[in-house]
């Protein structure tokens, strides 16, 4: 659309302009990986171990397909190092001797006819001498079977503040509890897939559905033993990620590229839903034991948390997931004496991995349930207990971090209570439940809440190590191009980056182009994870645009204010004079942020988003169904750049949180997922998601010290809703039924069992 050539006076920040990515997505023109037309492509398939643990002793290719026409790749064909490089190099790309989980890839096949390749896959027999597996997290930690390293411990750390032992010794009230959360499948609607071209002469090019182009870039350079310049990764339109397309895409890209390298033909390797659910990563199952010491008023005197994650067979991202989980374990509460012991243990499940929230939903669930337990034991209202223990600015968190955010948690809580009419509903439902019990009606009502925070950006020194870069350039015609490896996976990254650039440059949206992530075209702005894209990368976009503007005005080509045409003219002259209008900005850690990786001391996150969520449920004691009737989500996530997209993040996250709490159960047998299809792995439908009332309260951030971290005071938002939704829902179930549910998912069968036990 032609825009009038006038001064752009109004900042687009806080407006909700139409999505830049919108038109392609509603017309069917957006090209996802399986939509790529690839002339002469052959189709790949993966032969997996199916056995949880053992030693591979042989492979038989049974007759029945024209094997001479089929490309076959095994570990022996790998030109470089047989590993999917991530934090460590413990995970093979193709298993050659040791089998450590049932979905381990062993043989890759490709053929122009998909039916032939599928038939061939079934004709490959793997001979595996079984070894004893470990599936239980605590058996891994306490038993004798060693499946990883010297003690199965992928990562362990502790956070220590004050003197926990002494505080327990003198405490009036001690409350203990055990909490558990299950594996959860990301269930993006587009299954994973990659297309690859590879040869020693031309290098390796991969197109795919992915979140982190440079993770794959590094992994393939290591796998092929080639210089990084020989590898190129291009993102296709990506149909959802939620963490599920953070690390596993490196595996699929590696497999597709190996087949292409061997066959010298383009390879399409697209998973169907079943394979995607079986083989790709899921949220780490967790177990948490909490002991807490209180005075009679509920004040938290000491907190002792033992937080354990099932990491699955290889390290992948487990140390980082564990870190975030452990660092969120004590919640938005103040306590002088804290000990958090965190361990990620290896089992013979497929590796668990990144999923929105990244460890925090697990530990926040435990802490919020525990507080409800404490409240019940002390006869204090759960709301009141939280209010008495909230962190205040200036106080020290578990790691010794002094809270610099200008958050007023009691005020946020009050606002949530008002929004949801919590106190009136709570009383009304208590009365309703008494009457229902007396009259024999089966319906119980409940309302519950959770208060929590989520650290924005990478944990600890992560952002400093990443040292992300964003480049911005301008063409002679005045088109501004933003270059970052941050991916659009549904959240609206292109739109928000455009708004940030417009805010600095005062240009219409049509003059800003966000370049599609392609490692040949964009610098490494880091992975699209950790609620960092708007806050951390957006800040780099802002700074690069400021630098571009400075360059033009220092050359005397641009005044204080200008029209789009004047901007374009200035760019044209700058180019004519032989200048380069390309600028880069690189992450610099704000001063005053210190983190000690070894001792887990210091500023765990530069800043946090804060929230209070309230859920209202109906529980049917005849069918054991739980319905979430209404949901209120109030948060301070800093300045909101695009309210419609931000609300979409919260609503979608709450829906996933409701699934995490009530529906989404992975059934394991011998390390394999038994319900790897949407038929019996149940995610919320349009009939299951309640009306969600979303509010953003950024009053504190507008004036506070947390504002400088993101552009115009924006903070991270994507993961936050996963942390508090499940505990709010289960807290409401607690109110409705009187049951102290401590494990999720809580399916109707689990509720039935809990009620039987309570009788």
């Amino acid at each position: 659309m032609k825009q009038p050539d006038v001064l752009q006076q109004e900042s687009p920040i806080g407006q909700s302009p139409p999505r830049k990515e919108g038109a392609a997505k509603v017309t069917g023109k957006a090209v996802y990986v399986d939509d790529l037309p690839v002339a002469g492509a052959i189709y790949g398939a993966t032969v997996r171990s199916k056995v949880a643990r053992g030693r591979l002793v042989g492979i038989t290719y049974h007759p029945g397909v024209p094997w001479e026409d089929i490309s076959v790749v095994t570990a022996a064909d790998i030109p470089g190092k047989n590993t999917i490089a991530l934090i460590e190099h413990d995970q093979p790309c193709l298993a050659d001797q040791r089998i450590n989980h049932p979905e381990e890839a062993v043989v890759l096949l490709a053929h122009p006819d998909r039916e032939v390749v599928e038939k061939a896959r079934r004709l490959v027999e793997l001979h595996i001498d079984p070894l004893p597996p470990v599936f239980d997290l605590d058996e891994s930690l306490d038993g004798d079977v060693r499946v990883w390293g010297k003690d199965n411990v992928i990562k362990a750390f502790s956070i220590d503040k004050g003197d926990v032992a002494q505080a327990f010794a003198s405490a009036e009230v001690i409350v203990e509890g055990d909490y558990a959360t299950g594996a959860q499948e990301q269930l993006y609607i587009e299954p994973q897939g990659m297309v690859a071209l590879a040869s020693p002469k031309h290098g390796i090019t991969v197109w795919g559905s992915l979140q982190c182009p440079y993770y794959i870039h590094d992994a393939l350079a290591t796998l092929f033993g080639v210089a990084k310049e020989r590898v190129r990764i291009i993102q296709c339109e990506t149909g959802g990620g939620f963490g599920g397309k953070e690390e596993y895409p490196s595996m699929i890209a590696a497999h597709a590229a190996l087949l292409a390298w061997k066959s010298r033909r383009p390879v399409k390797l697209i998973y169907d839903r079943h394979e995607d659910m079986l083989a790709t990563t899921k949220r780490h199952p967790s177990r948490t034991r909490i002991r807490s010491a209180h005075d009679r008023d509920g004040k938290l005197l000491a907190l002792d948390v033992d937080f354990r994650l099932d990491g699955g067979a290889y390290m992948t991202l487990s140390p980082v997931v564990l870190s975030r989980g452990g660092l969120h374990a004590s919640g938005p509460y103040h306590c002088e004496n804290i000990r958090v012991q965190a361990r990620a243990a290896a089992t013979n499940h497929p590796p668990h991995g990144a999923f929105r929230g990244f460890g925090a939903p697990q530990s926040v669930f435990a802490m919020e349930r525990h507080l409800d337990k404490v409240a019940e034991q002390l006869g204090i209202e759960p709301v009141e207990l939280r209010r008495r223990n909230f962190l205040q600015p200036g106080q020290k968190m578990a790691t010794g971090q002094v809270l610099r955010d200008s958050i007023d948690l009691p005020q946020l809580l009050d606002r949530a209570l008002t929004m949801s009419d919590y106190l009136r509903r709570r009383e009304e439902f208590s009365r309703h439940n008494e009457e229902a019990a007396a009259s024999g009606s089966s319906l119980r009502k409940g309302i519950g809440l959770a208060s929590f925070m989520h650290g924005a950006g990478f944990t600890g020194s992560g952002e400093r190590y990443l040292a992300s870069i964003v480049a911005v350039d301008a063409t002679p015609q005045g088109m501004v191009r933003i270059r970052a490896s941050s991916t659009e996976i549904g959240q609206g990254k292109d739109t928000v980056f455009t708004q940030i650039a417009q805010d600095v440059l005062g240009l219409p949206s049509s003059m800003i182009e966000v370049i599609r992530p392609d490692t040949a075209e964009v610098p490494n702005s880091g992975p699209t994870v950790a609620s960092r894209t708007v806050m951390v990368v957006g800040k780099l976009v802002q700074r690069a645009c400021q630098e571009l503007r400075r360059k033009l005005s220092e050359g005397g080509l641009l005044g204080e204010s200008y029209t789009p045409t004047e901007f374009a003219t200035a760019c044209g002259i700058f180019h004519q004079m032989g200048g380069s209008l390309r600028v880069e900005s690189q992450y610099q850690q704000p001063s005053g942020i210190e983190w000690d990786d070894k001792k887990y001391r210091g500023d765990a996150y530069a800043t946090y988003a804060w929230a209070v969520y309230v859920a209202e449920v109906t529980v049917d004691l005849v069918t054991y169904e739980t319905r979430v009737d209404r949901f209120w989500a109030l948060q301070d996530a800093g300045r909101i750049i695009h309210p419609v997209l931000a609300a979409g993040q919260i609503e979608g996250g709450v829906a996933q949180g409701v699934g995490f709490a009530l529906y989404e159960k992975v059934v394991w047998q011998s390390g394999r997922m038994q319900n790897a299809q949407m038929t019996n792995y149940i995610m919320p439908t349009s009939l299951d998601v309640p009306d969600i009332f979303v509010e953003f309260d950024d009053r504190a951030t507008r004036t506070g010290a947390d504002a400088p971290h993101g552009p115009r005071g924006a903070k991270g938002i994507g993961e936050l809703p996963l942390d508090g939704s499940a505990p709010a829902v289960i807290s409401a179930v607690h109110h409705a039924t009187g049951l102290m549910i401590s494990a999720i998912p809580m399916t109707p069968e689990d509720l039935l069992q809990a009620l039987e036990t309570a009788r």
């Binding site: 139409p18 509603v26 069917g28 269930l187 959802g240 996976i489 979608g652 949407m678």
Partner: protein, 159 residues
Amino acid sequence: MKQPISLIVNGERYDTLCQPNLTLLEVLRENLQLTGTKHGCELGECGACAVLLDGEPVLSCLVLAMECAGQQITTVEGLARGAELHPLQAAFADHGAAQCGYCTPGILLTAKALLERNPCPSRSEVREALSGNLCRCTGYLQILDAVDAAAQVLREEQR
């Protein structure tokens, strides 16, 4: 043995050869290169592949292409009115109803069939009509808002 088949998609006639066991989804995507229709599970669970057959929503992964000969097939590519977006498409783009966009084609077509049957649906009728289309990004609420907004535009057009 490949069989000749003739399909009418978005008002245009396509002649192709295909194995009789291929689904409509496969033929649309691979023979006709109409890749706007998506596959999410190929078991009739997710709704991503929904298209209209003579105006009624069907899951194209569960229908054989051969069965569709002679029927009017509508896919997402046939929704826009020339250069102008269909009101449903415009509303989805404006209300944040398409996040990753992968479930969007199937939902647009299911919603189109609903609004043709019921120009003024209640929110719970929209929820019911879309309950076979899974969306993992939005939590559905912005989709419900978009369908509501489009219904209003369509009703005004009818006046």
